[in-house]
C-alpha cells in the first residue's frame, strides 16, 4: 500500500513549491517509527525473559545471559536506536541544504491519505515542509541523535534498555509529526503523542511509585493543555471549515476581525495548549517532577524538543496571534512571569536536575516573551540555542549523576546522587564534562560570544522595543532583565557547587568517580561547539557591525530572521499594519549594541560574584545541611508551595466531588430512586396481599362486590 515511491512523493498539494523538491520526506518520519517497532519487539522479548526470571524467583534486573554475554535484545538497540536517528538526521540535512538553495515562499505539502473525511470535514494525513519545520526538524533529529548516542552509554546497564530506545524512537517520531504536520489535527497527533512518550519515559522506572506518579501528573496536566488545543481547533473549524494551516492562515485576515472575540478565543485556547506543553504558569508544575525520568530523556524531551512545542505552536500560528494583540500580550506576560518565577525557585534547589528543570521553565518563558511580542524568529532562535546548551547541561548533569551513582553504589552509600551538596570538586574527576558544562552555563547566562547571548539578548531587546506599543512590555522587559540576572546566578551556583570546592562525596567513594566514556563525552563536545557557535547565525546587522559581531567579520547577518521570513511574513505584515514597526531604542534609551553590552556585562559580573561567593562558602553534604528552616529560602525551596496549593484547590475538591457523586448521587439518589420504585411496587403488592386472606368468604365477598360494581356500571 505504501511503497517507497509513495513515501517519496506523497501527493503534492498547494501551489508553487518554488522548484523545491523534498527528498523522501515520509521516510524521515518512517525511520524513527521503524526503529520504534524494532526496538519495541526487542523490548517485549527482553521483558518477557525478565518476567520469566522474576517468576522463577530472580530479580529480573540482570541483563547478561548464563554465558555472561548480553543477549541480542540488549545489543541491537545500540545500533537501531541512534541509527535511525542518524539516518533521519542525514535526510533532514539533505533536505535542509536543498531548501537553502531555493526561494520557498509557500510550504511544500505532501499528502498521504485522507485521514478523517466526514463529508464536511476533510483532514488529510499530510506533512508540510517549510523553513520553520525544517529548523525544528534539524534540532530534533540533530540534538536527538546526540542524545540517543549519549543514552547508549548512560542506559546500557539498565534492564529496560530496548524499551528505552523504543520509547525514545517513538518520541522522535511523534515530535517530527508535531512539527511536520500540515494541519492542526496531524500536529495534534504529534502533540499528544509526545505527551504519551513523555509519560512513558518519565515513568520509565515505573517500579518507583513517585516516578510513576510524576509520569501520570505530566500526562494529566498536559491534557489540560490539549483540551485548549482541541477547543481552538473547534473554533477554527467553525470559522474556516477546514483545519489546514495554509487555508486558515491565508483566510484569517479576512474572516477574523483584528482583536475580535473569535480570534482572541482561538489564540487563548492555543495558548492554553502551549502553556501546558511548554510548562508555563500555571501548568508548569509537571516539568520539575518530570525529572524523574532518565536524564537523557530530560535532555531530549524536557529541555530540547517537546517542551518547545508550545513555542513552535505560537510561531506556527503567528498570523492568528498577530491578529489578537490581547492574546499575544498574554503570551508575553505569561512568559515573563514564568521566566522570573521559575528562576526564583531555581535559586534554592539542591537537586541538580531540579535546578536545570526550573531553568528550562524559565528559559521557555523567555521564548514565550519573544513570540509574544511578535519576534517569532527571536523565539525560535532562542528555542534552538536553548536546545543546544540545555541539552548539553542535562547531558552533563547526566554524566555527573552517572558518575556519582557509580561512586555511591560502590560503597552502598544511600546518599542522593543528584544532590549538589553531596558533590563538589568534580572537575578533577570529570574535566571534559566540567569544561563543556561551563560553556553551556556561560551560554545560558548570556555571555558573549556564546550562543545564549545572541538569542536571549534579542528577545530582551524586542520586549524592550515593544514598549513602544504598550507600557506593559516595559514592565515585562524589566522582569526579563531580572530573570536573566537570576539565571546567571543560579547557574553559576550550580556549577560551583558541583564542580568546584572540596569533594564531599567521601574518600572511598571518590575513588570511583570517573569521567564518562567516549560515547557520552562526544555528544557533550558537539553540543558545546554548537553552544558556542550556534548563536552566530542570527546576529542583527547593527550588532554584527559592532564589537560583538567581530566588526562585521561574521559571514551572515540575521540569517535566521530572513530564513523564517516567509513563515512569519503574514504575522509581520499584520503587526506592521496595526501597530507599526518596533522602536529602535529600548524603553530607557540606548540601542541594541549598548544593551547587549550592558546585559553581557551584568551577566559576567553576576557570574563572577556568585562564583566567588560560593567558592568562599563551605557547603555541607545534604544529610547535614537539611532543609532551610524559615524565611524566603524555605518558600523557594518548597517551590512557593504551588503543588500544595493546587492539591488543595483543584485535586482534592475534584476527588471529593467524585466521591460525592459516587457515594451520594449514584448510590443514594439514583439507585435509591430505582430501589424506591422497587420498594413501592413491593408495597403495593403487600397491600394487595392483605386481601389475600386465604378465607373463601373474603374472596366470595370480593367477587360479589365486584359483580355489584359491574352491574351497577350497567345501570349508571
Amino acid at each position: 500500500m505504501i511503497s517507497l515511491g509513495f513515501i517519496a512523493e506523497g501527493v503534492a498539494q498547494g501551489g508553487a513549491s518554488g522548484g523545491y523538491d523534498p527528498l523522501l520526506p515520509g521516510l524521515i518520519l518512517l525511520l524513527p517509527l521503524l526503529g520504534f517497532a524494532a526496538n519495541g519487539v526487542l523490548a517485549l522479548m527482553a521483558g518477557s525473559r525478565a518476567a520469566d526470571r522474576i517468576r522463577g524467583g530472580g530479580d529480573g534486573a540482570a541483563i547478561a545471559g548464563p554465558d555472561g554475554k548480553k543477549p541480542f535484545t540488549h545489543t541491537l538497540p545500540t545500533w537501531i536506536g541512534p541509527g535511525v536517528l542518524l539516518g533521519a538526521f542525514i535526510l533532514v540535512a539533505i533536505n535542509f541544504f536543498r531548501m537553502l538553495g531555493v526561494e520557498l515562499t509557500e510550504p511544500v505539502i505532501r499528502s498521504y491519505w485522507s485521514w478523517m473525511p466526514t463529508g464536511t470535514l476533510s483532514v488529510d494525513a499530510a506533512i508540510q515542509l517549510d523553513q520553520l519545520s525544517m529548523i525544528m526538524m534539524m534540532v530534533i533529529t540533530g540534538v536527538g541523535f546526540l542524545i540517543h548516542m549519549f543514552s547508549v552509554g548512560y542506559m546500557k546497564e539498565d534492564p529496560g534498555y530496548p524499551r528505552y530506545f523504543a520509547y525514545l524512537n517513538l518520541f522522535v517520531f511523534f515530535m517530527l509529526v508535531l512539527v511536520m504536520g500540515a494541519n492542526f489535527p496531524v500536529m495534534f497527533v504529534g502533540w499528544e503523542g509526545v505527551g504519551l512518550c513523555s509519560y512513558l519515559l518519565i515513568g520509565f522506572w515505573f517500579q518507583d511509585r513517585e516516578k510513576a506518579d510524576a509520569g501520570k501528573k505530566a500526562f494529566i496536566v498536559n491534557r489540560v493543555g490539549d483540551f485548549g488545543l482541541l477547543m481552538a481547533m473547534f473554533i477554527l473549524f467553525a470559522t474556516f471549515g477546514t483545519l489546514d494551516y495554509g487555508a486558515i492562515f491565508q483566510q484569517a485576515p479576512e474572516l477574523f476581525v483584528y482583536g475580535g472575540a473569535a480570534v482572541t478565543a482561538v489564540t487563548l485556547f492555543l495558548l492554553l495548549g502551549a502553556v501546558g506543553k511548554s510548562a508555563q504558569i500555571p501548568l508548569y508544575v509537571w516539568l520539575p517532577d518530570a525529572m524523574a525520568g532518565p536524564t537523557p530523556v530530560s535532555a531530549l524531551i524536557h529541555a530540547a524538543t517537546m517542551v518547545t512545542a508550545g513555542v513552535y505552536l505560537v510561531a506556527r500560528s503567528s498570523v492568528l496571534f498577530a491578529m489578537a494583540p490581547a492574546s499575544a500580550a498574554a503570551v508575553a506576560t505569561i512568559g515573563a512571569l514564568t521566566a522570573l518565577f521559575a528562576a526564583t525557585i531555581a535559586l534554592k534547589q539542591y537537586d541538580i536536575k531540579k535546578v536545570l528543570a526550573y531553568s528550562t521553565v524559565s528559559q521557555l518563558g523567555f521564548m514565550f516573551m519573544g513570540v509574544g511580542v511578535g519576534a517569532y524568529a527571536a523565539g525560535v532562535f532562542h528555542l534552538m540555542t536553548h536546545a543546544f546548551f540545555k541539552a548539553l547541561l542535562f547531558l552533563g548533569a547526566g554524566a555527573v549523576i552517572h558518575s556519582m551513582h557509580h561512586a555511591l553504589h560502590s560503597t552502598h552509600k544511600d546518599w542522593d546522587a543528584q544532590d549538589m551538596r553531596n558533590m563538589g570538586g568534580l572537575k578533577r574527576f570529570m574535566p571534559a564534562t566540567w569544561i563543556t558544562m561551563w560553556i553551556a552555563t556561560l551560554a545560558i547566562a548570556g555571555i558573549w560570544p556564546f550562543a545564549g547571548f545572541f538569542s536571549k539578548d534579542e528577545i530582551i531587546w524586542y520586549v524592550g522595543t515593544a514598549g513602544a506599543f504598550s507600557g506593559l512590555y516595559v514592565v515585562l522587559w524589566g522582569m526579563a532583565l531580572a530573570a536573566a540576572v537570576l539565571t546567571a546566578f543560579y547557574m553559576t551556583r550550580m556549577m560551583v557547587m558541583t564542580f568546584h570546592g572540596p569533594n564531599r562525596t567521601g574518600e572511598d567513594e571518590a575513588k570511583h568517580l570517573h569521567e564518562a566514556p567516549l560515547n557520552m563525552t562526544i555528544p557533550l563536545g558537539v553540543l558545546a561547539v554548537l553552544s558556542v557557535f550556534g548563536g552566530w547565525i542570527n546576529v542583527p546587522g547593527s550588532v554584527r557591525e559592532s564589537f560583538f559581531g567581530g566588526f562585521g567579520l561574521l559571514p551572515m547577518s540575521a540569517w535566521l530572521d530572513s530564513w523564517l521570513a516567509p513563515v512569519t511574513a503574514g504575522a509581520d505584515a499584520i503587526r506592521m499594519a496595526e501597530l507599526g514597526a518596533y522602536a529602535d531604542v529600548s524603553p530607557v534609551g540606548g540601542g541594541h549594541v549598548v544593551w547587549g553590552a550592558i546585559a553581557t556585562t551584568m551577566a559576567l559580573v553576576v557570574v563572577i560574584l556568585t562564583a566567588r561567593h560560593f567558592l568562599a562558602r563551605e557547603v555541607q553534604p545534604a544529610h547535614i545541611d537539611g532543609e532551610p528552616e524559615s524565611g524566603i529560602g524555605k518558600v523557594l525551596y518548597n517551590k512557593w508551595y504551588v503543588d500544595e496549593f493546587y492539591d488543595r484547590i483543584i485535586v482534592r475538591p475534584i476527588l471529593a466531588t467524585s466521591r460525592f457523586c459516587w457515594r451520594v448521587i449514584d448510590r443514594v439518589v439514583i439507585d435509591g430512586t430505582v430501589n424506591a420504585v422497587g420498594a413501592v411496587s413491593k408495597g403495593v403488592g403487600w397491600f394487595g396481599s392483605l386481601f389475600q386472606t386465604g378465607q373463601i368468604n373474603t374472596y366470595a365477598f370480593i367477587i360479589a362486590l365486584s359483580a355489584l360494581v359491574v352491574l351497577g356500571a350497567f345501570i349508571f
Binding site: N697, F701, L708, L711
Partner: protein, 174 residues
C-alpha cells in the same frame, strides 16, 4: 292455573332456598335444597321443559344431592349443630351486597317481556310449533347431536376427568 302453580312453586323455592342458607344442620340444609330443586323442576314443567324437569329430579335431586348426603354422613357432620353463620359486620355487608345485587337484577329483568330484543326470536308460538313437530326430546336431541356434538362429547370427557380426579383426590394415601 299455570300462574297460580308458578307462584306456589316460586314460594316454595324461595322459602326452601332461605332454609338452605339458614338451617343449622347440614342435613337440614340438604333437604331444603332438595325441596328447592323439586319446585324448580315444577317450574321447568310449566315452561314446557319436560325433559329438563325430569333430569332435574333424577340427576340433581336424586344423584347429586345424595352424593352430598353421603359425604355429610361419611364425614359425620350431621350432628354438628354449631352455628356457622357469620355474624356482625360480615353479615350486614353480605346482606347489603346481595340485596343491592338483587335490586339491580330485578330492576333489569323487570322489562324483559316487552323488550324489543325478544322480537327477533320465535317466541312461545314458535316454540310450541317446534315442540308439536319434534316433541321435547327431539327438539333437544337434534341440535345436541348435530350443532353441539363436539361440546357434548367434551362433556363426556369432562365427566370422565372429574371421575378420575375425584378418585385421585379423595383416595386415602397409603
Amino acid at each position: 292455573m299455570i300462574e297460580i302453580l308458578f307462584y306456589i312453586f316460586a314460594a316454595v323455592a324461595v322459602g326452601s332456598a332461605f332454609g338452605v342458607v339458614l338451617q343449622k344442620n347440614p342435613v337440614g340444609s340438604l333437604l331444603f335444597m332438595v325441596a328447592t330443586l323439586a319446585s324448580l323442576a315444577g317450574i321447568f314443567v310449566l315452561f314446557e321443559a319436560h325433559f329438563l324437569a325430569a333430569i332435574q329430579i333424577i340427576v340433581y335431586a336424586g344423584a347429586i344431592m345424595v352424593l352430598f348426603l353421603f359425604v355429610i354422613m361419611l364425614l359425620n357432620l350431621g350432628h354438628d349443630y354449631r352455628r356457622d353463620i357469620q355474624v356482625g359486620v360480615g353479615m350486614v355487608l353480605a346482606f347489603a351486597t346481595t340485596g343491592l345485587i338483587a335490586g339491580i337484577l330485578v330492576r333489569q329483568f323487570g322489562g324483559a317481556e316487552t323488550s324489543p330484543m325478544l322480537a327477533a326470536f320465535p317466541g312461545p308460538e314458535g316454540m310450541d310449533a317446534l315442540l308439536a313437530e319434534q316433541g321435547i326430546i327431539g327438539a333437544i336431541a337434534r341440535p345436541l347431536f348435530t350443532d353441539y356434538v363436539i361440546v357434548f362429547e367434551l362433556t363426556g370427557i369432562l365427566l370422565l376427568v372429574a371421575l378420575v380426579g375425584a378418585i385421585a383426590i379423595a383416595k386415602r394415601r397409603v
